[in-house]
Symmetry: C2
Subunit: 231 residues, 2 copies
């Protein structure tokens, strides 16, 4: 069985691959997200290579092998199901479950996880809208565009928050920007890099396009109109 440390590395690599342009993870990047030194990462990576979880040339980025990817998806499945449980069943705050799940995910057997999955009704996404891989490692694909790509007067539904930072999540939660929430884009100020939304009956909410790019939404069908914008 892989250790908790190995699982954390693999999970981090998976995430970095996903959103790095080259589809690779770097030593420095891993060190930074895991909060450890480059030296430690180098040591661990050479072990992961030996056990065929990752591959890559010396002095260059690493990629997960098929085995590594399977493991990463397994860890992600555990993590996200646990988050659903903590929020739906135990009513923990949406923004505080990440670190809890971070520890529990390493202690839960496949059997318990499957029962939990059934108990929760086989959810497709976690509380942040992240898709939950199924037991075979298949990830349901959700579509959604960054808020920062929308235009004035567009209406939409939040589908996903791609930023686990708890301060960011608290902000988002405080303004009811959870998945499922409906909103309208009321104003965009490209010079100020700002976007303003109307969410429910709450006061108008403004945030930077940078922050908005971490929130994915689905446009609600709305006759004719063009779109396009860049962060």
């Amino acid at each position: 069985m892989p250790s908790a440390a190995v699982e954390d590395y693999v999970k981090a690599i998976y995430a970095m691959e996903r959103d790095s342009p080259a589809g690779e993870a770097s030593v420095a990047g891993i060190a930074s997200v895991l909060g450890i030194t480059k030296g430690s990462v180098a040591g661990m990576l050479s072990k992961l290579k030996k056990s065929r979880l990752i591959e890559g040339e010396r002095y260059s980025g690493v990629r997960l092998t098929e085995t590594g990817k399977k493991l990463a998806l397994d860890v992600l499945r555990r993590h996200r199901l646990i988050e659903v449980f903590l929020v739906e069943t135990l009513n923990l705050k949406w923004s505080e479950v990440h670190e809890e799940a971070e520890r529990l995910e390493h202690a839960m057997s496949a059997k318990v996880l499957d029962r939990l999955d059934a108990f929760l009704g086989h959810p497709q996404v976690d509380p942040h809208g992240d898709p939950i891989p199924d037991a075979n490692g298949h990830v349901p694909s959700l579509d959604g565009v960054p808020l920062s790509m929308l235009n004035e007067t567009d209406q939409g539904v939040i589908v996903r928050i791609t930023n686990q930072g708890s301060k960011f999540l608290e902000f988002v939660e405080r303004h009811s920007l959870r998945p499922e929430a409906r909103f309208t884009v009321v104003e965009i100020q490209p010079e100020a890099q700002l976007i303003s939304l109307q969410v429910g009956r709450k006061p108008k909410l403004s945030l930077s396009l940078e922050a908005a790019s971490k929130i994915l939404a689905k446009r609600i069908k709305q006759p004719k109109r063009t779109q396009r914008r860049h962060t």
Copy 2:
């Protein structure tokens, strides 16, 4: 925060103190229940002494300090609440939850545990009938006498199984001897060290007095009659 290893030691010491005549735990005993060598235990015990979780003279048994006892009760609380959850909510088999809880208990924060406790309705006992300490370390006391102390024709209700061995638990479960189960003592054969029970409508069940001493029961009020017997 105490490591998982420290928690396991403290928990083991607590259990050994409870049912050793001298109220102490021995190095050899701890080594045996944790499945490690005496040398390793000696090393850890000296660390536990330094951190004031246990006390005791050199070359003699150890006892938990107040701090140590508090920690032990905390771990026990986690363990048992998790067992209740696994059985009641996730429908795991009664006999397979122990090892699961053994791992999960080290990964669950106080906050999650409190929510879980509330979700489960503040149970007093776990699926084996073991009392669950409350958040302040108070253990509800349950009375119950070993089955081996009962007499023929006595009727009772199982309250607790004091033996976590999964083969024993499977046996017990297979014969419906769970806590809450009603039974009648139909026969006792002191020479054969055997006791026979009638549980529900099941066929008569015989077991050794030794095994019976690991099952605690409460007698059901039944007019006049004396009792007494020894394992």
